[in-house]
């Protein structure tokens, strides 16, 4: 993949959105076109990963050929490539599920264009190298999600959608205001340029509170401790597939951006990490623990899964917090970031998979209230198997993906002696297992409840949905069984985030890159002198 081709991650979903708008009367064509674009998307994401990973290269393209701090930069480094690959796979599985399980009404009208535009927003946030552009990408993502919120409208859903829209409007307003303030104080919004300022210690003191307030904006999107109240109420009202898409992508985009901003851009600036790191660490502990307590107390599948999203976000925060906390050796920091990245990838796949499983449980049993359903193990043995694998990997049992993510994070916590967070993380893990077993034992294991909703007249067709789930389970298994390979990529991404010299160099060019104190070399012989010499030689020759 050459460097200018990375723009395809924006162009492809947008083209898919446009094509499906033109085809909105032809449902079949709409699906085929969408599937084609999504598969192309996966292929390109894998190609980008294959290009970037061997040497930790960074693909940079300057939009409109305007040079870096002035124009808009898009860049794909290892972190972006990993996120793109996982996201594109998740999108494809959800697409399969939607195509086969949704009825005509739910897929009607402009569902497909909105689906592709949502993907556009997500992928754009993964590749953009410009702060304001990130805001634009967020807006596109949110606009599409508002529209998708109305799929298969029920009264309850609309009420919660209103809350969601309002909260996100407040978040966006704050985001753009903060961007204005940052631009006023730093004079640039290019991520690499801001990183350069942070690395050479040129951030003005007044910018510290502004940057720290960014935690509120991204924290709201990611659903961290004091700002998570909107999530459990909204997600469970959605159709499961949409819930899975949102759970797999939207909160994870928030987490990705937090890594990009607080670890890469401002991680080198002591003044900022001193403020942000304690906030992240404290919030991480509370987020994961309260989240899982909420999940244990719930009695419907979708509610349990929704609240679980929050508790999982806590682990990602823990990784970020350790990565920028003071007094930690840089190899442990690397480990923490790598763990967080691994965990985000694992969570995208597994969380989405569980939501889809929940959807099929509703198809089979007619309800997802755990007190009313049962006996699904006999009715749908394959679904039960896939659910079990996904649930255990979320809880983090050894050969599965969740275990390795947590293992890396916990050992980073141990080695840096942040025992309190580690304690909460272990406790949360136990409760996660408990809540997953609750779904398992009530929904699948327990005897069928006879008179209730578990015997609908017709046997639902769930083959398409099962394919979607199977793809995700295979990816989750590969992350568990081939954890070493994935972890190597994650730690490579982490290395270039902890020391962003290469990123700055790739975007801004050699001469603008500040030298960190460690790399300080002797002044080179200036090329100018050589030129003058040769000139004088030539003139004397004549």
């Amino acid at each position: 993949m050459t460097q200018h081709q990375i723009v395809l991650f924006v162009v492809l979903p947008m083209a898919a959105g446009i094509a499906t708008t033109f085809l909105h009367r032809y449902r079949k064509a709409q699906r085929w076109v969408g599937a084609g674009f999504l598969i192309a998307n996966i292929v390109f994401a894998c190609k980008a990963l294959a290009t970037v990973v061997p040497n930790g290269d960074i693909l940079v393209s300057q939009m409109g050929n305007w040079p870096a701090p002035f124009g808009i930069t898009i860049a794909v480094d290892t972190l972006s490539a990993l996120m793109l690959t996982m996201a594109s796979i998740v999108c494809f599985s959800v697409f399969l599920y939607c195509v086969f399980q949704f009825d005509r009404d739910q897929q009607g009208g402009f569902f497909h264009p909105m689906f592709h535009l949502l993907i556009l927003g997500v992928q754009w946030s993964f590749i953009t190298g410009d702060f304001f552009n990130l805001f634009v990408a967020f807006e596109i993502m949110l606009m599409a999600s508002y529209a998708i919120f109305c799929v298969g409208t029920s009264r309850k859903q609309m009420k919660q959608a209103y809350k969601y829209v309002l909260l996100n409007l407040v978040g966006s307003t704050m985001f753009v205001t903060l961007l204005g303030l940052i631009y006023g104080q730093l004079g640039t919004l290019n991520m690499a340029d801001i990183t350069r300022l942070a690395m050479s210690d040129q951030l003005p003191k007044s910018s510290i509170p502004v940057i720290a307030m960014m935690v509120l904006v991204f924290g709201g999107k990611t659903a961290i401790f004091p700002l998570w109240y909107w999530l459990p109420d909204t997600y469970h009202t959605l159709p499961s597939a949409i819930g899975g898409l949102f759970a797999g992508l939207l909160t994870k985009v928030g987490a990705y951006v937090m890594i990009r901003v607080f670890v890469m851009m401002f991680g080198t600036s002591q003044a900022i990490t001193d403020v942000v790191a304690p906030i992240l660490l404290v919030s991480a502990g509370i987020t994961m623990f309260l989240g899982v307590l909420g999940a244990v107390s719930m009695h419907t599948v979708r509610r349990i899964l929704s609240i679980h999203i929050i508790s999982q976000v806590g682990y990602m925060l823990m990784g970020m917090g350790l990565a920028i906390a003071t007094g930690i050796a840089s190899d442990i920091k690397e480990m923490a970031v790598a763990g967080a990245i691994f965990f985000i990838m694992h969570n995208m796949v597994v969380k989405c998979c569980l939501f889809l499983c929940g959807g099929l449980m509703v198809e089979h049993a007619g309800d997802d209230n755990l007190e009313k359903i049962g006996g699904l193990l006999k009715r749908a043995p394959w679904l039960a198997t896939l659910f079990m694998i996904a649930a255990l990997s979320l809880a983090g049992l050894p050969p599965l993906s969740g275990f390795f993510g947590k293992w890396v994070l916990l050992s980073a916590g141990f080695q840096s002696q942040h025992y309190v967070v580690v304690f909460f993380a272990v406790l949360t893990s136990l409760f996660t297992l408990l809540s997953m077993l609750k779904i398992w034992s009530y929904g699948f294991w327990s005897p069928s409840m006879g008179k209730h909703v578990d015997k609908p007249e017709r046997r639902p067709t769930t083959v398409g949905g099962m394919w979607g789930i199977a793809i995700l389970v295979i990816v989750a298994l590969s992350m568990g069984l081939g954890a070493q390979k994935y972890y190597t990529m994650c730690s490579m991404a982490a290395k270039s985030l902890i020391d962003p010299t290469n990123y700055v160099k790739a975007v801004l060019g050699e001469q603008n890159t500040p030298k960190l104190a460690i790399n300080d070399m002797l002044p080179e012989t200036s090329p100018k002198k050589l030129v003058i010499k040769s000139d004088s030689y030539e003139t004397s020759g004549h």
Partner: protein, 144 residues
């Protein structure tokens, strides 16, 4: 739908004038204030005035295609402009530009600076018009 005679007569004057003004703003917008977005807003104001005075059926007859297709075509244009540069191996959205010597009545020729960005701007123009007209159409149907 209650419309007054004054509005109808006024609309005959306002609609063509603002459409022409929209085109003017569109061409002016490359280096000076203006451009596709503002031009799109002005054009959609014209279309909405037409809708207010002659009703939505008349607007439907006036527009060659549904305003939703306006959005899709505009986006295609905008994306296509960027894509040409991409096919040529340049960064996305790299713009070509040059000068067009236009003869004028007063003798000296006028140099019009064209840029391939204008095609992108035309896309923006169409998207904005489509969105505004479509949204107001849907909202006023709700009210009636």
């Amino acid at each position: 739908m209650c419309t007054s005679v004054i509005l109808k007569v006024g609309a005959r004057l306002i609609v063509p004038l603002s459409l022409v003004f929209a085109v003017y703003i569109y061409f002016k917008g490359h280096q000076t204030p203006g451009g596709g977005f503002v031009a799109g807003l002005v054009a959609s104001v014209a279309l909405i005035v037409h809708r207010m005075s002659f009703g939505s059926d008349s607007l439907r007859r006036m527009l060659p295609i549904s305003e939703r297709y306006f959005i899709a075509i505009g986006l295609t244009l905008a994306l296509g402009t960027g894509f040409i540069a991409f096919v040529l191996g340049l960064p996305f959205f790299t713009s070509a530009h040059g000068y067009l010597h236009l003869p004028t009545t007063i003798g000296a020729s006028y140099d019009f600076e064209w840029a391939s960005v204008m095609a992108f701007d035309l896309g923006v123009f169409m998207v904005v018009t489509g969105v505004v007209v479509g949204m107001i159409d849907v909202l006023s149907k709700e009210i009636q």
